[in-house]
């Protein structure tokens, strides 16, 4: 059965329909052509599909598209300001925290949500914020460097 979805994505009102079995991730990627959020495990374990839903990071693969109704959602496509990358995106580049890149949008959304909560995250906050994101290339040290750099940049703002 088709469900009408009225939602706000990256600040823009969107109205579209999707089958009730559609996940938010499928809705973003296949209906709205926003391919930045990645399909990987599809079970809510790897974090590649992380988006910010009403201010909180969630796995869009295990969220119903229908639950986007009335919600405000931010995806990786909503972070840059024109050609100027968001400080979290820039920090991942500057520290070399990207290898294959598949996990990166999910990481960046988790980190964006963390730094929206606090610009002075403790080591524990950082670990908690990205414990639901898996990277199979980098070994995590550079990702933590990126988070710390982004936090510093945001504190100076």
């Amino acid at each position: 059965m088709s469900v009408t979805i009225n939602t706000k994505i990256n600040g823009q009102s969107v109205s579209a329909s999707a089958d009730a079995s559609t996940s938010l991730l499928e809705f973003l990627r296949d209906t709205l052509e926003l391919k930045g959020s990645k399909l990987c495990c599809n079970t809510g374990e790897c974090g590649a599909c992380t988006v910010i839903y009403n201010g909180k990071p969630i796995n869009s693969c295990v969220t119903m598209a229908a639950d986007a109704n009335g919600a405000e959602i931010t995806t990786i496509e909503g972070l840059a300001d024109g050609d100027k990358l968001h400080p979290v995106q820039q920090a991942f580049i500057d520290t070399g925290a990207v290898q294959c890149g598949y996990c990166t949008p999910g990481y960046i959304m988790s980190v964006k949500a963390l730094l929206d909560r606090t610009t002075k995250p403790t080591a524990e906050d950082i670990e908690e914020a990205v414990s639901g994101n898996i990277c199979r290339c980098t070994g995590y040290a550079k990702i933590v460097d990126a988070i710390q750099l982004a936090a510093q940049k945001l504190q100076l703002r």
Binding site: S21, T43, Y53, N59, V62, T63, M64, A66, S131, G132
Partner: protein, 290 residues
Amino acid sequence: MMEYFEPKSISEALSVLEKHGADAKVIAGGTDVMVDIKFKEEPGGLVNIKKLPGLTGIKENGGSLRIGALTTIRDLETSALVREKLPALWESSHQFASLQVRNTATIGGNICRASPSGETLAPLLVLEATGKCVFSDGEKVQPFTSFFQGPGKSVLGAKGLLTEIDVPYPAPGSKSVYLKHAVRGAMDIAMVGVAVLLTPDAGKNNIQDVRIGLGAVAPTPVRASKTEALLRGKPLSASLLKEAAAMAASESSPITDQRSSAEYRRWIVEALTRRGLEQTWKAATGKEVA
């Protein structure tokens, strides 16, 4: 094609379940049900209760905490009341998958899923929590010790809804823990989860009451009631501790699956029960196990 319902009230939800409950599945956070839809089988319909009013929030109610069934695990984890009054339940919400999942998953969903390994279930059993179960012909308050009937099965059947969880505060002086054994920390489904709640007597010399909840080692989460009976009224000596831990392992009936063998699970029940009793005894009495 799957049917879809988004009831606006509990009574509307119940009448939808009355008519379609046999084929339709209730969905709240969706972190379990969406995985079933993608990897197993689409149900005949979905009844999305996420937006039912009045089913979120954590409130003090005299000597207990009332938790709305749609309260997220993250709301439990960030609740100062839960952390202070119900540390074992708090620990299970803290050890619950990732932040992303905790932001979405609900306590009602974790309970109604009735998975033997459901993270919050062993703590709810030792806390002797109850659930308000509503049906189209009435409602009842069901202790969770008699709520679960098998993997995925509970007294709710296909037509009931859990709306609220009531968790009584443990007796003053009690100490509780939730210990989880998994390979990948909180992210993993527990191989074994053990909750222990221990109440000392007034002189802090003996165990007045003790409750042991075992997760992921039987078709439902269970209490180790023989072990509890063995311990009551006695001081926790080293020999009693050893006997109790072994008895708890014998009260479990685990299966072998991809996460571990049954034999390994029994060892872990023994180890975690021992650890849980030791920790709660020390915390409650200030004494070492003699």
